[in-house]
Symmetry: C2
Subunit: 265 residues, 2 copies
């Protein structure tokens, strides 16, 4: 059961990270969000760009990065190193007492190396229902700290694992729902779930399970949104209070209660 | 005043970090050290090697790296990214609940950008007497965590700074002496301070201020050791209980009380 204390878990992806001005503006807005919060960031194009400069081949299968030893080093350097620490330093400037973390730190997120099937994804981590050390995370937040997660986990046997940032955000949210009333907020480049993908003003303000089934059947929702919405309902079924999908550049509207599409059961 | 609780602060340099087997063995020994402890690591040759692969010129002045924007990114990626997270994952394997940190995280170490004089060192940080947030560090250790510091700090204005690892170790030690009985342990490739630099068996077991002055006058100590010893006495004068200088590969002997050269006031 949650304690009634609100925790906002916010995920940003490459579209914000790759644009220094957008990132700076986002971090200022993020700092202004009241109460307990966690930031989860993806990697953006920097890892692929570094791989290219180093002559390391980037292999993608089904939209996922195949991670050999060289690619793992690059991912850890870029995600847990430069991006994570740059974000933390900027948040500190804005008065937000951030702490940059990977899943290995304080054993916060244990991943399991994805089993080799048709594709060997290499050092890629999947998460289980008990992967998150929510007790330690709660203690950090009780110290007034704002955790900032890069998408790197470990297997408790000394191996770092490249892990999907959306998965980390939803696993953190589900796990921390035992301690908090969790809002999971996915930031991306659109204003929310759109009725008409060409029309930014067609944001659907609220979706629940009943209206989602209607929208899904009618084919009114852009196909690319379906995985996001399925993930959202999965998180809600695991105890998350509400999921929001909206524009990273408009996060300041979250305090006013009018951010993107709100999704509930 | 210290509380009588012992805290061991251990610094390793490139000679350990650059050798995977030596690093692994060291981390196993480090894990076995009882009680509260902190690890501070330097960078080794990996940052220069990466710079070379990327065609970034490495400029050293008086043994210190000049850190422009490109070199800062490399230092943060390598030190706070790959090396720090690899060490943390390995310590977790050995049952040590490590947390990898830079000075930006939880605002733990505030650096000041070195003023431009004859040389502009770029994004290099110097530390002041009140740079360390020892209250937060104490809280981390009270949670059972072992802090692992990379040599990156920040200026609280959003700027990351490349900082000397020896300086971080001694500043942490001096600052935490208000809370703990601190031993500062410098690990390097020799067994201790040697009377005869060619003879590994000539380790001086104990040096105090009186015997140091005699040794210094007699010219019996290898010149390269003088800065280390001056730093040691500086730390002791700032409240550190004892400084040890010894071989990284023999850290397991520390629990038995026979590690390297012990330096006290």
């Amino acid at each position: 059961m949650d304690s009634g204390v609100i925790l906002n878990i916010i995920k940003i992806g490459g579209n914000v990270i790759d644009n220094p001005d957008a990132l700076n503006e986002f971090l200022e807005h993020f700092s202004s969000i009241k109460g307990k919060k966690i930031l989860v960031h993806g990697g953006g194009k920097k890892a692929s760009a570094l791989a290219q400069r180093l002559g390391v081949e980037v292999e993608m299968v089904e939209g996922r990065r195949v991670t050999n030893q060289e690619m793992l080093e690059i991912a850890v350097m870029v995600y847990a190193g430069w991006i994570n620490k740059s974000i933390v330093a900027k948040l500190q400037k804005f008065g937000c007492d951030a702490i940059g973390l990977s899943g290995a730190d304080a054993n916060l997120i244990e991943g399991m190396k994805r089993p080799k099937k048709e594709v060997d994804f290499g050092y890629v981590g999947d998460l289980l229902h008990d992967s998150v050390n929510h007790n330690m995370l709660k203690k950090f937040m009780e110290l007034g700290l704002t955790p900032v997660f890069s998408a790197i986990t470990h297997n408790k046997k000394g191996q770092l694992l490249n892990t999907n940032a959306d998965t980390i955000a939803s696993s953190l949210s589900a796990s921390l729902s035992s301690n908090y009333q969790v809002n999971l907020i996915y930031c991306f480049e659109k204003d929310g779930v759109l009725k008409d993908v060409e029309d930014e003003s067609s944001v659907i303000e609220h979706i629940d399970l009943a209206s989602y089934k209607v929208l899904e059947k009618s084919g009114e929702i852009f196909d690319g949104m379906l995985p996001k919405l399925n993930n959202a309902f999965d998180a809600l079924q695991k105890g998350v209070s509400a999921v929001y999908i909206g524009n990273a550049s408009k996060l300041h509207q979250f305090n006013q209660g009018c951010f993107g599409t709100r999704i509930t059961l």
